[in-house]
């Protein structure tokens, strides 16, 4: 270990279950303290009952990260006093976590080892007001999966990439809702110059923030004295601040959670969960590159979002996959980005896109028309074939008709013709554009180009 920077992460992911981890309260609520019951309020006499969906989602994630699933899993009590924690202990896992020993591989092939993956309940939330602190327990008991890495990352950028890859896997597994659920991380960071004195940074939200927080902390460690401590991340000020030193570190006094039995995980159950895991982005992109000769950059970009990847595969089965990849990357994804929409928020579907690309592939429509139709497909569902027919948008390839048009343009644009003859290629493009304008974009640009050149010879 002689890298300049050493980083390890503990990531908390909210699992997309309908109900909480140990009671049947819904996981979504608008008004404070409306999704609560005696169990998630920790009332005397209430008992936790495991939400098996959360167990399944946790196992799914563990398996997707290459972890081994424990044959028996147990929950534990982590005891500390805080107003947002209804029982003043959190039900989590200590000795027997759900998964152990997994990994995520970064783009450059570097392996980030994952030590463990376990389930735990979220505490409630505190809202600070001028003269009061308000407690909202809607979040109390929300299922979280904690992923703990080995200290294998050597730069803030790697930490960001790790989180991005993790988010991508979560999206593929369908166990995480990017709009509602929150991804939070605690980071351990140390630098060689300060003898790798370990500092923990708590509560960093999102993958952009992780890089920011770590960059700040690394620079801080270079210029300040570093001691063993826990620091918080203030995303408004963009700084980390000291929370407590190592001497004040809490002793959580873990014991086995006695209200929950030991869960014995049988191999059939694991197989069932495993069978629900789709081919993940990395493997999918690799397959496209190998089998369809898709450009590696395009393949990886398209594979990032499972919905876009699924759409692409459906189209690529009907039209040339390389053509499909160009159009999905350059038009579909560009439109989604410009409008800041997810695929679901657009009207795109494989039928419409396949039709338009088939028309394009068979040279029935021009590049320009195809582009226009795709823009429309983002907003409403219709049949491109019928649309093209109705609006007479088929490519005009009739040389006789086009020749008449070309001659007309030549007489209309003497200046451009003159410039072209002087050797200005740009003027030819202008003349082609004029012909296209007359045909509302339906003329085959290649034919127009050839015609103009031969006429002007």
């Amino acid at each position: 270990m002689d890298t300049p920077i050493v980083i390890g992460l503990e990531v908390h992911v909210q699992l997309k279950t309908q109900t909480k981890l140990f009671c049947s309260c819904p996981t979504f609520a608008t008004e404070p303290n409306t999704s609560i019951c005696p169990t998630c309020l920790g009332h005397p006499g209430s008992k936790p009952v495991i939400n098996e969906k959360a167990l399944e989602f946790g196992a799914k994630l563990s398996i997707a990260l290459g972890c081994k699933i424990a044959p028996h899993i147990q929950f534990a009590r982590k005891v500390y006093f805080y107003p947002d924690l209804v029982k003043n202990y959190q039900i989590t896992q200590q000795d027997d976590p759900l998964g152990r020993d997994g990994q995520i591989v970064l783009d450059d092939g570097k392996v980030i080892r994952i030590e463990r993956c376990h389930l735990e309940e979220d505490p409630g939330s505190l809202i600070r007001e001028a003269n009061a602190v308000l407690a909202d327990y809607n979040r109390s008991g929300i299922p979280l999966c904690e992923i703990v890495t080995k200290p294998d990352m050597t730069s803030p950028a790697e930490a960001r990439e790790f989180l991005k890859k993790l988010m991508n896997i979560l999206g593929y597994l369908g166990i995480f809702d990017q709009d509602i659920c929150i991804i939070k991380a605690d980071a351990n960071v140390s630098i060689k110059e300060k003898n790798y004195t370990r500092v923990e940074i708590k509560n960093i939200t999102g993958f952009k923030e992780i890089e920011r927080a770590l960059n700040y902390e690394v620079e801080r460690q270079k210029v300040q004295d570093v001691k063993l401590e826990t620091r918080g991340w203030d995303d408004v000020k963009g700084i980390t601040y000291s929370m407590r030193s190592k001497e004040e570190a809490a002793d959580y006094g873990y014991i086995v959670e006695p209200d929950l039995p030991t869960f014995h995980i049988d191999t059939q159950w694991i197989k069932n969960v495993q069978s629900q895991i789709p081919e993940l982005a990395h493997a999918r992109a690799a397959r496209w590159i190998k089998e369809w000769k898709i450009d590696p950059v395009d393949a990886n970009v398209i594979a990032t979002d499972i919905e876009v990847a699924d759409l692409f595969e459906q189209i690529a089965k009907k039209v040339n996959p390389i053509t499909a990849s160009h159009w999905v990357r350059r038009e579909v994804l560009r439109l989604m980005n410009d409008n800041k929409q997810t695929l679901k928020q657009t009207q795109f579907n494989s039928e419409g896109l396949t039709e338009v690309l088939e028309l394009y592939e068979h040279k029935k429509i021009t590049n320009k028309i195809a582009q226009n139709i795709i823009r429309e497909l983002a907003n409403k569902k219709f049949s491109p074939k019928a649309f093209v027919k109705e609006n007479k948008l088929e490519t005009v390839a009739d040389e006789g008709a086009l020749e008449v048009l070309c001659k007309k343009v030549i007489t209309e644009q003497p200046k451009a013709v003159e410039d072209y003859k002087k050797g200005e290629e740009k003027s030819l493009m202008f003349l082609i554009g004029q012909v296209m304008k007359h045909t509302k974009g339906t003329a085959s640009p290649q034919i127009v180009r050839e015609l103009l050149i031969s006429i002007l010879k």
Binding site: G42, H43, G45, S46, Y252, G253, I255, V256, D259, P261
Partner: protein, 471 residues
């Protein structure tokens, strides 16, 4: 007694409202003298509901019209439930515990909550919380009822009407007061009866069970409250057999006498009474075999106190005056406030056990205490499994002595107090069904005999108890 009453009540021969009010009146009178009840339920409304059912022909249930008292630490919807601790003053549960609901579903009338050692922390029911009165022994008011289900045992002894008391045992809190008050108490197998709605002392040890005057009534209570509950993940889904029709036959039954439970620390009269009872059972065809349980009898107490206090110290963390129960003036940071609420409202024994339990699970101590105790517990369970290869049931005195006076108890150190549990903690640690039945007297004070059976063999202890009481 109860079966006959229920039959009459269902036939409409009894004015159920008048009966209920008469019971309430009698109980209130006894309570003024003996302090068994902490809160009364609305008896009249419940009784009127039953009268209505009788009128429209929907009356039914194994406990129709029977009075049920509930240990204070077991939730009754809308009735103050505080495990006899000042920290829960004013707390009214939003739901019924499963055992209470099952009794109500069988037509029972909830009479009230019975006093106990605060959160179950004691063997004499003298450790009641601040503002609670300790219950007095039904035979001699200068003496303790035993604990922690002291109010339940006293009520079972003195209430002279069809009545079942629901108690709870962590290390002996059902059979101990049953023995000292001269009633029957059954502590079922761990997982036989739902703990949903029980204020946790030590979740891996807590068991709810019935106390009553007769074996038959206690068995009926057990039958009603037993069975799987989706609200408590530690309940078993094994079918519940009938407990009220077990014949009292012991012909050929192998009875193990636990050698260590008849040693020097046991009062002479107690030892003699229990051995005589065993002799009588032999005369009815049982076979006596001496059994040694060195692990359970030697390490039971320390193992029990480490595990139970470790769990208790986490269970009691939630009581901090923020969401329910006692409150204090809101000053300082949350830590100061929590500390003030807890310091002012927990009793001495609760504080002692929180400290002990917190110590046992601290990072530096955990392996030596908490984890080690869990390992010893496994050894104790294995020791019983071995014993039950040779015998069908085990018999011991329930507690080493008859009820001490309050004066005598005052002179005991905490560790001497814990010794009252020396025989009962082992079957509790092992989660085995056990029962105390009255077994003679020393002077005018009752003696209890404890019968222990393998897991989920409640019928066996009832079988022996029936043989003993009907002989």
């Amino acid at each position: 007694m109860i079966k006959k009453f229920v039959k009459e009540a269902l036939s409409g021969k009894i004015d159920i409202v008048a009966h209920a009010l008469k019971c309430l009146e009698q109980a209130e009178k006894i309570n003024q003298e003996y302090h068994y009840i902490t809160e009364w339920a609305d008896v009249e409304t419940q009784a009127k509901k039953l009268a209505e059912q009788l009128k429209n022909g929907t009356a039914k249930g194994k406990l129709f019209g029977v009075m049920v008292t509930v240990k204070d630490g077991i939730c009754v919807k809308g009735v103050e439930t505080h495990a006899s601790s000042a920290i829960l003053k004013g707390y009214k549960p939003l739901f019924n515990s499963t055992v209470v609901q099952r009794c109500i579903d069988e037509g029972a009338i909830i009479l009230g909550k019975t006093v106990q050692d605060e959160f179950g922390f004691g063997g004499f029911a003298v450790n009641v919380g601040k503002g609670f009165q300790k219950p007095l022994n039904p035979v001699d008011k200068k003496r303790a009822t035993g604990g922690s289900s002291g109010g339940a045992a006293g009520a079972a002894a003195l209430f002279d009407f069809p009545h079942i008391a629901l108690g709870e045992s962590t290390g002996g809190s059902i059979v101990n007061p049953a023995a000292l008050c001269g009633v029957v108490g059954i502590c079922p197998t761990y997982g036989r009866v739902s703990r949903y709605g029980l204020l946790d002392y030590s979740n891996s040890l807590d068991k709810i069970g019935p106390l009553a005057k007769t074996v038959e009534d206690a068995a009926l209570g057990l039958e009603v409250i037993s069975g799987h509950d989706s609200h408590d993940s530690t309940t078993s889904d094994q079918a519940v057999p009938g407990y009220t029709d077990v014949p009292g036959v012991v012909q050929g039954l192998r009875i193990g006498i636990v050698k260590e439970a008849f040693g020097e620390t046991i009062n002479n009269d107690v030892r003699k009474a229990v051995l005589e009872a065993v002799h009588k059972l032999e005369q009815h065809g049982a076979r006596k075999i001496e059994i040694s349980l060195p692990y359970g009898m030697t390490y039971g107490i320390p193992t029990y106190f480490l595990l139970s206090t470790a769990e208790a110290s986490t269970n009691l963390a939630k009581y901090c005056g923020m969401r329910y129960g006692a409150e204090e003036q809101l000053t300082g940071v949350y830590n100061d406030y929590f500390a003030r609420v807890r310091s002012n409202n927990f009793g001495d024994e609760a504080k002692r056990r929180i400290l002990l339990g917190t110590f046992a699970r601290m990072a530096g101590q955990r392996d030596a205490f908490y984890t080690k105790a869990a390992q010893v517990r496994t050894k104790i369970i294995e020791e019983y499994e071995q014993a039950f290869k040779q015998v069908d049931v085990l018999i011991t005195p329930t507690v080493p002595m008859a009820s001490p006076t309050f004066e005598e108890i005052k002179k005991l150190t905490p560790v001497q107090c814990y010794a009252i549990d020396q025989i009962t903690v082992a079957p509790n640690l092992a989660g085995l069904p056990h029962m105390s039945v009255p077994c003679g007297k020393t002077g005018n004070l009752p003696i209890g005999m404890m019968i222990i059976a393998p897991h989920f063999n409640e019928q066996k202890i009832i079988q022996v108890a029936n043989a003993w009481t009907h002989q």
